[in-house]
């Protein structure tokens, strides 16, 4: 009887295979791997080298800081890093020095980035992606301001301090009609920019699902987050449908087993009472580890190929499972979700029963959960 408390197992072979498959499917369009939020909490320091081995040459990190760190550590020297959520006091000098591509949304950001390149002297340039707001209304230049924004970018390019690396947008994934409308705004912005003398190395607007479903919206590059991790976000589409394999398994070991009598209330507030004599297994993961308290309502975990319901309140560090009269022992492995081939829920199913989405489930796995990597390091 040995075991562990909590584990997030990351199948690196599956991650590499997913990326290779995505690269092949959209070739010759470039694939940018999204590694924001510590690679969806899987560990960006491990994930980036694997993606490089799979052939990825572009990475997206949201904020520039992780890109700066990876550059300073010499990870992916041959690759490009792209960040687009910039702080009010962004370190543009670091972005110039470390060759990090930034998506800029305003004239202020553009000028500040160009100033940093000018200050760095000859041979330095700001690697700029002009961001157009095609409807999401977060970052991005509004279409009404686009012409002035592009005009200034072209001037700065001609001055030699800006390199127009890309033009990009985010779409809302609200409906096909909305996304189509956004794609028309994007095309229009590209046409207008070209008329003003701008040409871009990488034009990109599509992320995971749209990138696969709408070849006409791929342009020069697509951004792959969830698909790379094997979790298609399109409703009704499984990883298998997409030829992908989920990379993440969340598990723990049973730390205690006890028999209780019919009528016994369990966990805080006794929200669940046993209808008949039964056996409970205590699992050492709680909401501090990313197991939503909503998992009490319908989530099932898998022990030795068999599903069992979570009962009673999920606590900060633990939850209970009703295993009925099945023979469950301390040390038995409990699967919360995984690829699904050992009878366990997939991350998509887990997200559905907890009122969440797979990305949130992945990102919110806590720091106490040990990350274990399988499938060989590249």
């Amino acid at each position: 009887m040995t075991g562990y408390l909590r584990r997030a197992t990351v199948d690196l072979a599956a991650y590499r295979a997913n990326l290779r498959s995505l690269i092949e499917r959209v070739a010759p369009v470039e694939v940018l791997a999204i590694v924001k939020a510590d690679a969806y909490s899987l560990g960006v320091d491990v994930i980036v080298p694997e993606a490089l081995a799979a052939g990825i040459r572009w990475f997206g990190t949201v904020e520039p800081e992780p890109a700066f760190r990876l550059r300073r550590e010499g990870v992916g020297d041959e690759a490009s890093y792209f960040a687009w959520q910039l702080g009010p006091d962004e370190d543009y000098a670091a972005a110039v020095e470390l060759r990090v591509d930034l998506g800029v949304s305003t004239l202020e950001q553009l000028e500040a980035f160009a100033d940093a390149a000018r200050a760095a002297g000859p041979g330095h340039e700001a690697l700029v992606h002009l961001t157009i707001d095609t409807g999401l209304h977060r970052e991005g230049c509004l279409p009404a301001d686009w012409a002035a924004f592009v005009t200034r970018a072209v001037e700065l390019r001609d001055e030699g301090v800006v390199r127009l690396r890309g033009c990009f947008s985010h779409v809302s994934e609200t409906s096909e009609a909305d996304d189509h409308a956004a794609s028309l705004v994007f095309r229009r912005a590209l046409d207008d920019a070209e008329a003003l003398g701008a040409t871009f190395e990488k034009r990109h607007m599509s992320s995971s699902s749209a990138a696969l479903e709408h070849p006409e919206r791929r342009f020069d590059m697509v951004r792959m987050g969830s698909n790379g991790y094997g979790n298609p976000v399109t409703e009704g589409v499984t990883a298998a449908d997409r030829g992908l394999r989920p990379v993440l398994t969340l598990s723990g070991c049973v730390v205690r087993v006890k028999r209780i009598a019919a009528g016994t209330g369990v966990s805080y507030d006794y929200t669940w009472r046993a209808e008949r004599d039964t056996t409970l297994a205590l699992v050492p993961l709680g909401y501090a580890d990313g197991v939503s308290r909503r998992a009490q309502h319908g989530a099932e975990v898998t022990i030795d190929g068999r599903r069992h319901p979570i009962v009673g309140r999920v606590a900060m560090d633990q939850f209970l499972v009703d295993v009925g009269d099945h023979d469950v022992a301390v040390g038995d492995e409990v699967l919360l979700f995984g690829p699904g081939d050992r009878g366990e829920l997939t991350i998509g199913e887990w997200a559905d029963v907890t009122g969440s989405v797979p990305e949130e489930v992945s990102c919110r796995i806590g720091a106490r959960v040990e990350r274990v990597y399988t499938g060989g390091r590249a």
Partner: protein, 365 residues
């Protein structure tokens, strides 16, 4: 990594809370529970603040958490109660950590490892950790046999907070366990039952709050009750989550905002983007429900909370890039409280703070 988000923790508030709670339950000893990264407040710094305020014990869930504190130089007595199957307790012995043991296997392993002492954990109704009543005779007899080698320093249980009657039944069961142990000649110095809710609400555990009270949520200035605030308990919330506005944008009436376009303003308005999202520990179910403050003004989160950003509707107010947005903090300063966020997504105050990502930069003032 998310350099613009700041979690600030007021260690003076942590000390104030510790002192207030010590006075409230004196002469009982006080344990500050610092599991789950001290409920998101930062384990090491919080432990140091509580130790400086004179708490007698620190409590964590598991030995990994305990070892982290010891390696950071924290020397306060330390109890851990959630153990992996097959745990050898060698780390507990090496780092002077006291394990609470729930069964014979753990008791034997702890004794073999030579830990300084054990606490016996009994299940009086919660059905989680702890030996159940049927196991007590054998468990206690073995503890008595081993007590020459490994002292039984404490006995503990955890309440369900289901109702005063249910909690009273648990306390009665606990007292019967203490009595059974006493008949075997073992009289633990620390008999502890109550956590924050019980100690503040139901202070009379067998005529006293017990020999020690385990305070978690209350230590951080947050209330375990739906009908009373931390301030009403004489406590001060210590943690503030803030981030600067990164984008301000005028949006015409009827246009969708953020993923899914679930928010479409009825009139022209200004929205501001705040670089905090669910990967930072903010529950996505708070979308379109929670509020934040800028200065003394309160604004609603609109549209879907994304992985790294959320959007607020600031109407016609002159909000600028760089303005300081407080997601939650101390209601006495006009901020939303952690309890307000909990209500917004149908959760509990505990999970609002305990879910904050460990990688967020924290500063202690």
């Amino acid at each position: 990594m998310t350099q613009d988000i700041r979690v600030t923790v007021d260690t003076a508030a942590l000390r104030h809370n510790a002192e207030t709670l010590r006075a409230a339950v004196a002469p009982a000893a006080v344990m500050a529970v610092v599991k789950a990264n001290a409920y998101g407040h930062g384990a090491v710094e919080s432990a140091r603040a509580f130790a400086a305020a004179g708490v007698d014990w620190l409590g964590v869930a598991d030995l990994d958490e305990a070892v982290e504190l010891r390696e950071a130089g924290v020397t306060t007595p330390l109890l851990a109660w959630l153990h992996a199957p097959g745990e050898t307790f060698e780390r507990a012995a090496a780092h002077d950590v006291t394990p609470a043991v729930s069964d014979l296997v753990q008791l034997e392993a702890a004794a073999a490892a030579g830990v300084r002492a054990v606490h016996l954990c009994v299940d009086t109704g919660l059905s989680r950790n702890g030996a159940v009543a049927g196991e007590w005779p054998e468990f206690f007899a073995r503890a008595a046999e081993l007590s020459g080698r490994v002292p039984v320093e404490g006995i503990m249980t955890h309440l369900s907070n289901a109702s005063p009657e249910e909690d009273g039944a648990q306390v009665a069961a606990f007292l019967s366990a203490v009595e059974m142990l006493g008949r075997l000649g073992v009289e633990p110095r620390l008999r502890h039952v109550a956590a924050s809710a019980a100690a503040l609400h139901f202070t009379d555990v067998g005529g006293s709050p017990g020999d020690m009270v385990r305070f978690g949520l209350a230590m951080y200035g947050l209330s375990p009750f739906a009908d009373r605030t931390g301030a009403q308990l004489g406590l001060r919330p210590a943690l503030t989550l803030r981030a600067p506005v990164t984008t301000v944008k005028r949006v015409p009436a009827g246009e969708g905002v953020s993923y899914g376009y679930v928010f479409r303003p009825e009139r022209d308005t200004t929205i501001a983007v705040v670089p905090v999202g669910y990967s930072d520990g903010v529950d996505r179910a708070a979308s379109d429900r929670a509020s934040v403050t800028i200065g003394q003004r309160t604004y609603r989160v609109r549209g879907r909370i994304a992985m790294n950003a959320l959007v607020i509707d600031v109407g016609d107010d002159p909000v600028e890039v760089g303005d300081d947005v407080v997601l939650f903090g101390d209601p006495a300063l006009g901020h939303q409280g952690a309890a307000d966020w909990a209500r917004a997504f149908g959760g509990i105050t505990y999970e609002v703070v305990a879910s904050l990502a460990a990688r967020l930069p924290r500063s202690w003032t």
